[in-house]
Symmetry: C2
Subunit: 429 residues, 2 copies
């Protein structure tokens, strides 16, 4: 069976071209287009410092439809004064001109360094070139996937195929993210950011590339499907899927200025998603693709040598489980211990205790790679050498049962290595 | 003028002895004693996973007085089941026996690895030995200061002398802390932790020692004064001083299970602290000593090559300023940039935006070592090479003016180096 890629769902075309925005000769401008005016929903960063494309994107998505996405890597177009909004709008304008649609039908995205003006003449040429290079082959999908990468070492892609009634539906996506990863994205504009001032998983790994200079590695995700679904329903499902995928991955807990995930539904499969089985299948497919992409971000975290999967269960509220899982996932002490295969579980239990939500060590149980190390307030004797050996794996499972309720969650992170310091201490200019 | 040390205030004795709790031959048991039943106040960790000495210490301090402190390094006595409380009480019992006072007059402290039982026979011998070695010389103060260190490379000490009326008052202190540093200490027991289930600064640097194996480097501070002050007033001043010193330092934002800072006032200077000038002088002296100690923790942070001082001003509430300063101070991206002398200010501004409190980039101004780099939502052109050169300093000042109010704060942190990873990824067993 052929790999499912971003352009496998019916009705999508894409391109990725090199416009010289960054120094490496690798695509840095991407264009994604739908033959139909797609039903669409997006989640955006809740950072109070948000880039211009976030503002323009929210605006263009207000009607729940999109024609396409125009994106650049190498420059985040954030903290660049008034010019930045003009530039984000200009990106949409150019995408509209070269494709023959309207600027308001495009979502603009940018990722890269903060505080530098977009090199508009290069970007303009790039968008026009991308418009002429559009196609729906796997290669087109890969070029688009590459055009959004920054410090990523691997291309990130996932896709599933499923049935609604007799119709085959495809849902796929690509994403990027490696550092500045601690997304907290929402479909809603937070109240204080409203204008006052302003399955079958097919994870392609792609070519291994050399590390680039430290940029600001926002999380971006673009998902496509040929299901038919209303914008209202899509909006709800998108937030739900994000909370258990992109919002559940962290590399350094630094919510970026540009985080964006968008899903466009062409409807061209003819399969309608509404209630019952269709809703269930679609929800599951969306979760699968989103989680695969989120997982790939953790696995390719800056300097990462392994994925650390934090499962927290037994909380009274899911928010409590999330706070505890995040506190563990973001503790540099825990992440360094994981890097060194050190079963130093005191760091994990104490991180749970500082999450600011109910936690009682006298009830909790902690397992490292399946080995109980702490139970009901006291240590469980274990063979440290053996457990350490089990931690030397590409994926480590940290399982904490709080025994205070029935809510649970999973958060993915990575270990903390010297390479992370090398990547991020490197002088950027 | 001779150095002011922990035992400079009248009425204090101390000792530090090696009891073999840790492998290195360096004092690991300390005893601090006051000739009088001292007026005393302490702040303790608010981590929900707190060590037994925290519980016993809160209990013994309920009356607002203390006779002394008994402390060990090398083992935190945390997450060790029911035995841990017995052991913490036993430490007080032994200190009482060897000094001839009551167990309830002692504050126990422990720092070191979590989840291991205290080696009580060694500890018992150590406390008895310390009891017989008590003295009030500078050497005694230094031995006590050394007995509380874990991964610290430097001894930490500060002291000031000032006048209240005609009387000379001395206030001094020692502390420890290098990793697992993100104190959030309070004089009050948080509601959810109550039994439901259970100025002349004289900063001595001391000898440089080799790094030890990764322990859990709690923050501990012991302060002495010969001022006369009521426990009620002391309690208020202690929280206030802590919030702008120990609670304003972070290395890795990991609030420890054992964080403790205590101040004992012998009253033997005869100078009474109540209102007016006496209160002002004492408050200032306490702030000075606490901040000097906090600063020394940041400077000796695990792997640190520099102190990063984050000044946030112009917030509507001081809590907002603290949240923003902490978000900046704890961002691994910011800390790595500081390590690499990289004026990558976008990371600082975006960290401010994710603090979860009001922040408007369109109003804010950011200065790095005095050079404006961002103002009113846009970059300020600067010579990156020159600013980078100014960042290559033992102390870096990050100054953010939010222009939303008149509240300000300062937080101290350090840079993030490969050495931090080395220290904390090292297999502990």
């Amino acid at each position: 069976m052929p790999e499912i890629h971003l352009l496998s769902p019916r009705g999508f075309k894409a391109a990725g071209v090199y416009a010289g925005i960054r120094s490496r000769n690798q695509p840095d401008v991407g264009l994604l287009l739908c033959d139909e005016l797609a039903s669409a929903s997006a989640v955006f960063t809740t950072n109070k410092v948000f880039a211009a494309p976030i503002k323009v994107g929210r605006e263009h998505l207000a009607g729940g439809t999109l024609r396409g996405v125009v994106v650049n890597a190498g420059n985040a177009n954030a903290c660049t004064g008034r010019q930045r909004e003009k530039d984000a709008r200009r990106m949409c304008q150019l995408a509209a001109e070269v494709t023959g649609y309207s600027p308001g039908e495009f979502l603009p995205s940018s990722t890269g360094i903060i505080g530098h003006m977009l090199p508009m003449s290069k970007l303009e040429r790039g968008i026009v070139e991308a418009g002429h290079a559009l196609g729906s082959s796997r290669d087109h999908a890969l070029l688009f996937a590459d055009a959004i990468l920054t410090t990523d070492l691997k291309r990130k892609s996932a896709g599933v195929r499923f049935k609604i009634g007799r119709q085959v539906v495809t849902l796929a996506g690509v994403c990027k993210g490696s550092g500045m990863i601690g997304p907290r994205m929402s479909v809603d504009t937070p109240a204080d950011l409203r204008p006052s001032v302003a399955a079958k998983r097919s994870a392609s790994t792609g070519p291994r590339t050399g590390r680039r200079r430290p940029l600001h590695a926002t999380m971006l995700a673009y998902l496509t499907t040929d299901a038919s679904i209303s914008p209202v329903l899509l909006r709800r499902l998108m937030q739900q899927a994000t909370d258990t995928s992109f919002n559940a991955v962290t590399v350094d807990d630094h919510t970026s200025t540009n985080d964006t995930a968008v899903l466009m539904a062409s409807g061209l499969s003819g399969a309608k998603v509404s209630v019952g089985a269709s809703l269930k299948s679609f929800t599951q497919a969306l979760a699968e693709v989103s989680q695969s992409l989120a997982y790939q971000i953790a696995a390719d975290g800056e300097g990462a040598t392994k994925v650390v999967k934090i499962e927290v269960r037994g909380c009274a509220k899911v928010e409590h489980a999330r706070a505890i899982a995040r506190a563990i996932a973001n503790s540099p002490l825990v992440k360094c211990a994981m890097h060194g295969n050190d079963p130093n579980w005191g760091r994990i239990v104490s991180a749970a205790g500082l999450a600011g939500v109910p936690f009682d060590p006298e009830r909790a149980t902690l397992l490292l790679q399946g080995t109980p190390v702490f139970r009901s307030g006291r240590p469980v004797p274990f063979d440290a050498g053996k457990v350490s050996a089990t931690l030397a794996a590409p994926e480590v499972l940290v399982k904490l049962d709080c025994r205070l309720g029935d809510q649970s969650t999973t958060v993915w992170t990575c270990d903390f290595s010297k390479e992370y310091v090398t990547i991020n201490a490197d002088y950027h200019t």
